[in-house]
């Protein structure tokens, strides 16, 4: 049996292709409507990941916390009256009036027809809430303060995380994939930055050139996180680029950016996201700590400033009846950082094809192969 050119195709290459694909396209033509394609894309990129994420309680909590944070950071301040001193009695306890406030007039909550709660443009009749989290030494309501500090914090966290992870991704992935001189140069810079001491340097920078915009503070706070991540990403890319499927893509002549986007990045995504969350936490912790210490200029609202006030003005750690003043901002920090971690872990699952396949609508059979 000979497999030499018996197939009857002409030797002209292009014609052969036409014939071949013509032949292949002839039987059982599949027609794909725009709608079907749209649905497929929707399912693959949004619905399936969404289902995966929602399927796990940890991710659900993570998403909830992150959504709340974003919500308070964007719309929140518009709904809540800006805080000011002496809006409330000094050192007003949280949930003033206790449970009894539910049915008694006064206290932190009032229910009844003649009450109404106005949140910016929205007003809710029948209920009114007054300073549920209490107020600080100067009569500034803590709840309002917390919410009005969120936009700056959000800006800080997002800017810091994006810049540090972005830098790391650009440096690490380019160095790993390109290799050679580019790699050497980029890693040289990375190593230099890596050897700089993070916190002390930061304090010096801030002292000399006190940044006023929230995003700038975020960037400065996260700036020392990227070299480590860049190194880690580079070494992962180095292994990935030797994978057979990457070589196959190269052999197919796919452009580098396609290979990076399709073949390499998805494998790095879980890692990048975890680091994104970590960078976010670092910014939260860093800013709170530095404000608390009074290193950063008091130009933006921050939970750290609240803690500082609680500590130094209300002696919240000594005078335990004022402890709530430091407790609320601390709780906000803890919940946010916990939520970020859960969120990142959940995203790890979203990028795992095994789990995703189980949730995709279009995959017919779900058996895993045992080899």
């Amino acid at each position: 049996m000979s497999h030499t050119n018996e197939s009857g195709f002409e030797t002209d290459e292009q014609l052969t292709d036409e014939q071949l694909f013509g032949h292949l396209a002839e039987d059982d033509i599949v027609s794909l409507s725009r709608r079907e394609r749209f649905e497929r894309i929707l399912d693959a990129y949004f619905l399936a990941p969404g289902r995966v994420a929602w399927d796990d309680w940890r991710t659900r909590i993570g998403i909830l916390v992150v959504t709340l944070f974003v919500f308070f950071g964007t719309i929140g301040p518009r709904l809540v009256t800006p805080p000011a001193t002496n809006q409330a009695p000094n050192n007003l306890q949280p949930f003033d009036g206790g449970v009894a406030a539910l049915w008694e007039e006064g206290g932190w909550i009032d229910i009844g027809v003649d009450h109404q709660l106005s949140m910016g443009p929205i007003s809710v009749p029948g209920i009114d809430i007054r300073y549920p989290l209490g107020a600080d030494n100067y009569g500034t309501p803590i709840g309002r303060n917390l919410i009005h500090a969120t936009p700056d914090m959000l800006e800080m966290v997002v800017a810091g995380a994006i810049v540090s992870v972005g830098l790391a991704a650009i440096f690490g992935i380019t160095a790993g994939y390109k290799g050679g001189k580019t790699d050497e140069f980029l890693m040289y810079i990375t190593d230099i930055v890596m050897t700089m001491p993070g916190l002390p340097l930061l304090i010096v920078i801030v002292a000399i050139w006190s940044p006023r915009q929230a995003w700038l503070i975020g960037v400065v706070l996260a700036i020392d996180a990227w070299p480590g991540l860049a190194r880690a990403l580079r070494s992962q890319v180095l292994t990935l680029r030797e994978e057979s499927y990457v070589e196959a893509s190269r052999t197919m002549g796919l452009p580098s950016r396609t290979i990076l986007a399709r073949d390499i990045s998805p494998q790095l995504m879980p890692y990048i996201l975890i680091n994104f969350a970590n960078a976010g936490r670092q910014v939260v912790f860093g800013s709170v700590a530095l404000y608390f210490l009074g290193v950063l200029p008091l130009t933006t609202a921050n939970w750290g400033i609240m803690m500082d006030t609680a500590y130094s003005e209300a002696h919240a750690l000594v005078n335990l009846s004022n402890f709530y003043q430091i407790f609320w901002p601390m709780a906000a920090v803890v919940v946010l950082s916990f939520g970020l971690i859960l969120f990142a872990q959940g995203m790890d699952r979203v990028f795992n094809p095994r789990i995703r396949a189980r949730h995709a609508k279009k995959v017919g059979s779900d058996e895993e192969q045992i080899n």
Binding site: H3, F21, A25, L32, T251, M252, R262, Q369, I370, N371
Partner: protein
């Protein structure tokens, strides 16, 4: 005509009531998984005889490794083992292995039964010298170090290693074959009675596999060992094992003396397996894949587990699980219809090797050359910082002065041991690896000039024309993309004129073409939802969608199960016709190379240490090898036919040393000079060039030239390795 029992019942010698060393009774191994209980050993009943070499053959996923672990009560958590495994020591009371305590097991595992796994590389601690590994083991068992180390010394010598050198080496300083042999010696250091080996040679080269097999035979005799050898490679054990047991779907379907099992297998699965195994001697027309797939351990088929694939299956088979039909005390098969299997599934062992048809495929083929290599060298510098400090420079000559032409619609197989540069050469051919000297041209255009932008051809066209199929189906697909997405990529890049519907049509039809039905379902799957064979088919389709002129198939079938290899190779040839392409098939396995090339009138090239030492039509290379190295490879490829296998086992390998020289320090003169049994003084000085021979093959050896000074030169002292002698002179 049906068989009768007496025909199969061959009178056996008086050892009839065998001394049993291990009794396996109704052993189950189960794993609780999310989707149900996975039963990976299903009521196995079996006896291992004292002082025998037992070959256990099965495809991956048949439960053979579980059997090995169960014998040592070493099933990993959360696996549950139940049943009884009774060990009869030469003197003393029988013990039930499954009821031993942890500390008893620890002693038992080295002193009574010991085990060698496939991954020798990871069995050693990289920071400890080999000597320390030995000493540590001895110490842990409270034995006399001096006496035992002497024994270890002897064992290493028996395995053709230089004990002194090995003891003083770190694991990474040894080659794979050496490590594996060292591991065998280590496992025998406490003189166990039974040695269980799970695919111990699978990661090694043919020649090394064969040598280890022969050495095992010696060890067995010398130290009164019982060896249980587990493998997927039927021809490898067929000639050496005393008995064979075939596993399918988590139980033994047939067992018996190996010659009887090979010659006249009774179980339909064994027969089908024998038919599907690519070997060097069976006729090509007789090789057929087994239809269907191995069963899932979670819900194995009811009744006989082979019934979905068995051509003889009847209603009875789907309802009841067949018991062993025992032809004799030592021969049994679990099948209701064993009488008919002989007629229904025929297979022939071995064709007469002298009668191969003269290769008519004229070497001067009319076809146009697609890719040609001229005097190509690929050298890698391996100079690390440390080496530089010491002024040591090591260059690996992966490819050395190779010229080769690949024509349209041709299949060329490159065969060689690992590290011989065949993959590097392959990548150079398809323009993935830049040669350090010489030129690679595609249809007359230098590939690397085109890449630099100075050529008549667009580099894009060249890139498109030369494609690759990798060895490991697991890593050649992007795990996070569906089959559809993976297959669309080449079409999007090269056929922008096709709309989404056309793309879909082409992909679906091709998937159907390669037997993946229904295509809509397969297209939406992720790689982890495909079996190894299916992944490899997707990879092949992806390469073909580029409509390339040449595909480099780098060990493309080696990772597949034996019974699937023939099917995959048939598919490759089938699609070759359709897509008008050539293959450069790289393999360490002579049998696979032979199947693919002989079926398509292709050529085989033999590589050794970066050199092409022989190339010619497949038939000629297989049946009339000329280069001494090709002869060695041929020796290392075991035939299936028991007579021939016996004959092959009786001959020593035509070679002077088992291990390959260090590729950073290749020998002077002929590269094969250090191991060649015919080497003469001139071979150590001069390098032979490829030259024409009487046949169509071209060979790089002085012996092909009748007037060469070789014939007047002094032979170098020539002791071939002797794997047969009982004791070896040190």
């Amino acid at each position: 005509m049906t068989r009768t029992e007496t025909e199969l019942e061959i009178t056996h010698d008086d050892r009839s009531s065998h001394d049993v060393i291990l009794e396996v009774r109704d052993v189950d191994v189960t794993f609780d998984m999310e989707r149900g209980t996975s039963r990976v050993l299903d009521g196995v009943r079996f006896d291992v005889h004292r002082d025998e070499m037992l070959g256990i053959v099965g495809e991956s996923g048949s439960g053979k490794s579980m059997f090995a672990s169960a014998l040592l009560n070493a099933v990993v958590d959360p696996g549950q083992t139940s049943g009884e495994i009774i060990y009869h020591p030469p003197d003393g009371e029988p013990v039930d292995v499954l009821s031993l305590s942890e500390s008893q097991l620890e002693r038992f595992r080295w002193e009574e039964i010991s085990m060698v796994f496939q991954g020798a590389m990871s069995s050693f601690n990289p920071t400890m010298k080999i000597r320390e590994h030995f000493e540590e083991t001895i110490r842990a068992h409270g034995e006399d170090i001096e006496e035992r180390m002497e024994h270890g010394w002897q064992l290493l010598a028996d395995l053709y290693l230089d004990p002194e050198r090995v003891f003083d080496s770190y694991p990474h300083e040894l080659s794979g074959g050496m490590k594996q042999r060292t591991l065998i010696a280590l496992s025998l250091i406490l003189e166990p009675k039974v040695l269980v080996m799970d695919e111990p040679t699978a990661a090694l080269d043919l020649l090394m596999q064969r040598s280890i097999m022969s050495l095992l035979g010696n060890l067995q005799e010398e130290y009164d060992l019982t060896i249980v050898f587990i493998t997927h490679d039927l021809p490898l054990v067929a000639g050496l094992a005393d008995r064979l047991a075939v596993m399918y779907a988590f139980e033994f379907v047939e067992y018996g003396p190996s010659e009887q099992v090979i010659r006249d297998a009774a179980h339909p699965y064994t027969r089908a397996l024998l038919k599907s195994v690519p070997s060097v001697d069976a006729s090509l027309e007789d090789m057929h894949p087994i239809e269907g797939e191995s069963p899932d351990p979670v819900d194995a088929p009811s009744g006989c587990s082979y019934h979905p694939r068995c051509p003889l299956a009847t209603v009875e088979c789907t309802q009841a699980d067949p018991d062993y039909h025992e032809f004799s005390e030592e021969r049994g098969a679990a099948c209701f219809h064993w009488e008919q299997s002989g007629d229904e599934i025929e297979y022939a062992l071995g064709v007469d090797p002298d009668e191969f048809p003269e290769s008519t495929a004229a070497f001067e083929s009319e076809e146009e050359t697609v890719v040609s290599l001229d005097d190509v060298d690929v050298h890698f510098e391996q100079t690390g910082l440390i080496d530089e400090l010491f002024g040591k420079e090591s260059v690996v000559r992966a490819v050395n002065d190779v010229s080769i032409e690949l024509r349209e619609n041709e299949v060329v197989a490159l065969v060689g041991e690992s590290g011989c540069g065949k993959t590097t050469l392959g990548k150079t051919v398809i323009g993935l690896q830049e040669p350090t000297a010489g030129s690679v041209s595609y249809r007359g255009q230098d590939v690397w000039e085109a890449k630099a932008g100075s050529g008549d051809y667009e580099f894009d066209d060249i890139r498109r024309a030369l494609q690759i199929v990798h060895q490991d189906p697991g890593s050649s697909l992007n795990s996070s993309r569906t089959v559809r997405a993976s297959l669309s990529a080449p079409l999007k890049r090269w056929r922008p004129d096709l709309g989404p519907s056309d793309r879909e049509t082409v992909i679906y039809n091709l998937l159907k073409r390669v037997g993946m039905k229904p295509p809509e379902d397969y297209a939406a799957r992720f790689p982890h939802q495909l079996s190894g064979g299916e992944k490899q088919r997707v990879v092949l389709v992806r390469a073909l969608l580029m409509s390339p002129d040449l595909i480099l198939a780098d060990e493309a079938v080696s990772a597949l199960d034996v019974s699937l290899r023939v099917e995959m190779m048939d598919l490759m040839l089938d699609l070759q016709e359709m897509f008008d392409t050539s293959y450069l098939f790289i393999s360490h396995d002579f049998s696979n190379a032979r199947y693919l090339t002989e079926k398509s009138d292709g050529r085989i090239g033999i590589m050794y240490l970066g050199n092409l030492v022989e190339i010619g039509p497949a038939q000629e290379i297989i049946h009339d090898p000329k280069h001494p190295y090709t002869k060695v490879l041929r020796w290392a490829t075991p035939p299936l036919d028991p007579d021939e296998a016996k004959e092959a086992n009786a001959t020593d390998p035509p070679i002077r040393e088992i291990d390959i020289p260090d590729p950073t320090d290749p020998p002077s003169g002929c590269p094969f000079q250090t191991r060649c049994p015919d080497a003469r003084e001139v071979c150590t000085r001069e390098v032979p060039e490829l030259q024409d021979t009487e046949g169509a093959a071209r060979v790089a050896c002085f012996r092909e030239d009748d007037d060469h000074e070789y014939w007047a030169s002094e032979p170098v002292e020539s002791d071939t390795v002797s794997l047969k002698t009982e004791s070896k002179a040190d």
